[in-house]
């Protein structure tokens, strides 16, 4: 079972970023602090701009996912960008976009299978910051889910891979918290650890896989792998940078 290279790469990315965030600032001998204006005080309330990258794990319980994974987890690289559109004291309302990209590979009865899913979403997020280093949020993220499933079965016509693609509406509803880790390079740029969870919904898709035979595609029958419902509870951990 390959849980995609996304997880490992992202872990390294996060580790590197965290290490950078916690490393002591390099000395700048030529800088005279007495002549530099004092940095602006930390802004009150949640951050204005935020870019987050992390790992989103969706737990798909339906049997339609079984050919593509030996467990129920579907792991994606998750990227979100938000900007606060309304800020009042410790409350704010942010809007943004999100991208979730992932794949799962397995063997179904000896045949190699792959499932790729990419989700592009718009998101609306309400934030509440009770302390300067912590805020909570709730997020609604409707979007479009594109998926492709394929299976390599030597018995298929011409030895071709059988595949199917689908596009469907999807929506995430979740809540989480963000913990400020510190500043990065400049006082306006801060690092956050963001964790959230919720439920991701998408309509069920009928998986009728066919070989790609071009003009002869009408000569090939389809493989019915049943219905895939790419929905379930999800959990996401991300590292974010904010700018005020």
């Amino acid at each position: 079972m390959i849980r995609t290279g996304v997880s490992a790469a992202l872990a390294l990315t996060l580790a590197s970023a965290v290490a950078r965030a916690q490393a002591p600032a390099e000395p700048t001998p030529t800088l005279d602090w007495n002549q530099v204006p004092a940095p602006p005080p930390a802004a009150a309330g949640p951050p204005r701009w935020m870019l987050a990258a992390g790992v989103r794990t969706l737990y798909i319980k339906g049997a339609g996912y079984d050919p593509f994974s030996s467990d129920d987890a579907f792991v994606q690289f998750s990227l979100t960008g938000t900007g606060a559109v309304v800020r009042r004291d410790e409350l704010s309302l942010a809007a943004g976009v999100g991208l979730d990209v992932g794949a799962s590979s397995a063997h179904a009865r000896g045949s190699a299978t792959d499932l790729h899913m990419t989700r592009v979403s718009a998101l609306v997020e309400g934030r509440y910051q009770p302390a300067s280093r912590l805020y909570f949020f709730a997020r609604l993220a409707p979007g479009l889910l594109h998926g492709s499933a394929q299976i390599d079965d030597a018995s298929s016509p011409a030895g071709a891979t059988m595949q199917a693609t689908f596009d469907t509406f999807a929506v995430d509803l979740g809540a989480g918290a963000a913990l400020r880790l510190g500043t990065v390079a400049r006082p306006q740029i801060r690092a956050w650890l963001v964790a959230d969870g919720g439920y991701g919904w998408a309509s069920a898709q009928s998986l009728l896989l066919s070989p790609s035979l071009g003009s002869d595609s009408n000569k090939a029958g389809s493989l019915d792998l049943g219905s895939l419902a790419p929905r379930g509870g999800f959990f996401r951990v991300a590292l974010a940078l904010s700018y005020d």
Binding site: A11, A63, V75, R109, G110, P157, L225
Partner: protein, 552 residues
């Protein structure tokens, strides 16, 4: 790596790790060369690792609908009914160990019909299943027996039979156990007879005849198996040698004579005939089975290679072929009188073809119909020895212009390995499969000609169309399939096949328009479906991954 980074990585590992699991079905590989049966209107593939049967039903436009029928866990064996429309699957069940998530499942028999309906008999009184299976052609009984070919318990009784009444409602049932009386022998073959004309006290009854390596057992099957079996140990009259049956012939009898059996022996020159006499008490009430066999040993001078009951103009005879002496012997089952007939070649097999001939056996100048219906037998050898090739017609009476008991040879120059019957309307034809030769023959019983068909290799498999209009030839795991028209032209046509072929099955569809399903079983199960009439490449359809769908 500092402590914080390690903590975060651990956190990531936790959230990215999967939970839950999938059905074990998906981890079971597709079996290469699964048991496959043509159920007339659908093709049944036993998907043993997934405990199910896949029914592939061709439709119009060469569509292929796949239906999955679950069967018991641990498939042991499968067989079809005599009419080929029903599949019987024996399963071992499952014995749950401590902590086993799968519940205990008793051994079972699943009866699968071509329409996808199924009945399951759970054999409640079994712990260890039996893998051998014999099915009554009448559809009433199914007998399980120990098999050496499938996984069997550490200790087994080779003479144990389990009899299941298939007319009872499905669900939990009790199999009737029966142990054959044994003098040290092991069952070898099982034959369900048609109703036999037994003595009047019994009437017409079907029997199960079990051939062991030392004798015969005759059983009248009952739900409770209360009737005793009749055991016929076979020993030579002059020595202590145990005689092993090599095959039997059954004549059901009629109003003029009772039923009789013939038994040829693998290790003796005798051919055994059995007739039945009443076994009644002083008041005429049946004792035991109500009949007893009378046994006669008939020395035919050599080991008989094949036997069959034939009608001659002298009456019913048991014909035995003795290839070592290049002769056949006709045995009167009543008197044991023997008549030898010299043969031009050491033929080893015979098939009675009278019914297939119909009136075709009469020659053109025949002026009177025969008063006695005598048989015509087709002699062939089935030998791998070059020089023993050929087939011959054996007239067993005065038929038209043919002389009494004449032998009419046909110029087939290859060793005949098998004679395949052709269904009506071309039942006057036989297909002769050869061994180690690049030819097969279409034998016409009417004009006694054998048309050769050349093949590119000697490894050709043949199957006959259920409609009797074509013979399918293919090379196993090659990409060559041909259909030869059995009409007047004997015209071979090749199919365009792009994957290795594991089997060719002609399946009936609506409106007398059959489809032919060519299976491919390497790397999964795929199929190519043709219209069996038109064989049009442009309308064929190809399928792959047929056993990947239908997850439980």
């Amino acid at each position: 790596m500092n402590r914080s980074v390690r903590s975060w990585l651990l956190c990531l590992a936790v959230v990215t790790a999967g939970c839950g699991g999938r059905a074990p079905f998906w981890s079971e590989f597709v079996q290469t060369g699964p048991l496959t049966f043509n159920l007339v209107t659908t093709l049944a593939i036993v998907d043993a690792p997934a405990n199910r049967v896949a029914l592939l039903t061709p439709g119009s436009g060469q569509t292929l609908t796949t239906t999955f029928v679950p069967v018991g866990t641990g498939v042991l064996n499968a067989a079809t009914s005599a009419d080929g429309k029903t599949l019987f699957v024996a399963s071992a069940g499952h014995r749950a160990r401590l902590g086993d998530a799968r519940p205990t499942e008793v051994p079972s028999i699943t009866v699968v019909s071509a329409d996808g309906s199924a009945q399951r008999y759970d054999l409640m009184n079994l712990t260890d299943p039996l893998g051998g299976m014999a099915v009554d052609p009448g559809g009433h009984w199914l007998v399980l027996y120990p098999s050496t070919e499938t996984s069997q318990p550490a200790v087994q009784n080779p003479n144990e039979l389990l009899v299941i009444d298939l007319t009872q409602p499905s669900g939990p049932v009790m199999a009737a156990p029966h142990t054959l009386m044994s003098f040290g022998g092991h069952p070898q073959r099982f034959t369900f007879t048609a109703p036999l004309h037994l003595p009047a006290s019994v009437g017409d009854q079907s029997l199960l005849i079990v051939e062991s390596d030392q004798g015969l057992s005759l059983l009248q099957l009952r739900v409770d198996m209360t009737l005793p079996e009749i055991t016929v140990p076979l020993t030579s009259g002059s020595t202590t040698q145990l005689l092993s049956p090599a095959g039997i012939a059954v004549n059901a009898g009629d109003s003029t004579h009772g039923a009789c059996l013939g038994v040829r022996l693998a290790n003796d020159h005798d051919v055994v005939t059995l007739q039945f006499v009443p076994n009644v008490d002083a008041h005429g009430a049946p004792v035991g089975n109500g009949f007893l066999p009378t046994v006669n040993l008939n020395d035919v001078g050599g080991v008989a290679s094949d036997i069959a009951f034939v009608n001659t103009d002298s009456g019913l005879r048991l014909a035995a072929l003795v290839p070592s002496l290049k002769k056949a012997t006709l045995i009167d089952p009543t008197t044991s009188l023997r008549t030898d007939v010299a043969l031009p070649a050491p033929y080893q097999n015979l098939s009675v073809v009278t019914n297939a001939l119909g009136t075709a056996g009469s020659c053109d100048n025949a002026t009177a119909a025969p008063t006695v219906v005598s048989d015509v037998a087709l002699l062939w050898n089935g030998s791998s020895i070059q020089g023993q090739e050929g087939v011959a017609f054996w007239e067993l009476g005065q038929t038209g212009c043919q002389s009494y008991r004449s032998i009419d040879t046909v110029g087939v120059t290859d060793v005949v390995a098998a004679v395949l019957n052709v269904p009506t309307p071309n039942d006057r034809l036989k297909v002769l499969q050869t061994r180690n030769a690049t030819t097969f023959y279409i034998l016409n019983l009417a004009n006694r000609t054998a048309a050769p068909l050349q093949t590119s290799t000697s490894d050709v498999s043949l199957s006959i169309s259920p409609l009797g209009d074509q013979v399918w030839s293919y090379v196993a795991y090659g990409e060559t399939v041909s259909a030869t028209d059995l009409g007047h032209q004997l015209l071979p046509r090749s199919l365009l096949i792009e994957r290795p072929v594991s089997g060719v099955y002609e399946v009936a569809r609506a409106a007398d328009n059959p489809a032919v399903v060519i299976l491919h079983d390497q790397g999964g199960i795929g199929a190519t479906v043709y219209d069996a009439k038109t064989l049009d490449d442009t309308t064929r359809r190809l399928y792959g991954g047929l056993l990947l769908g239908g997850s439980p």
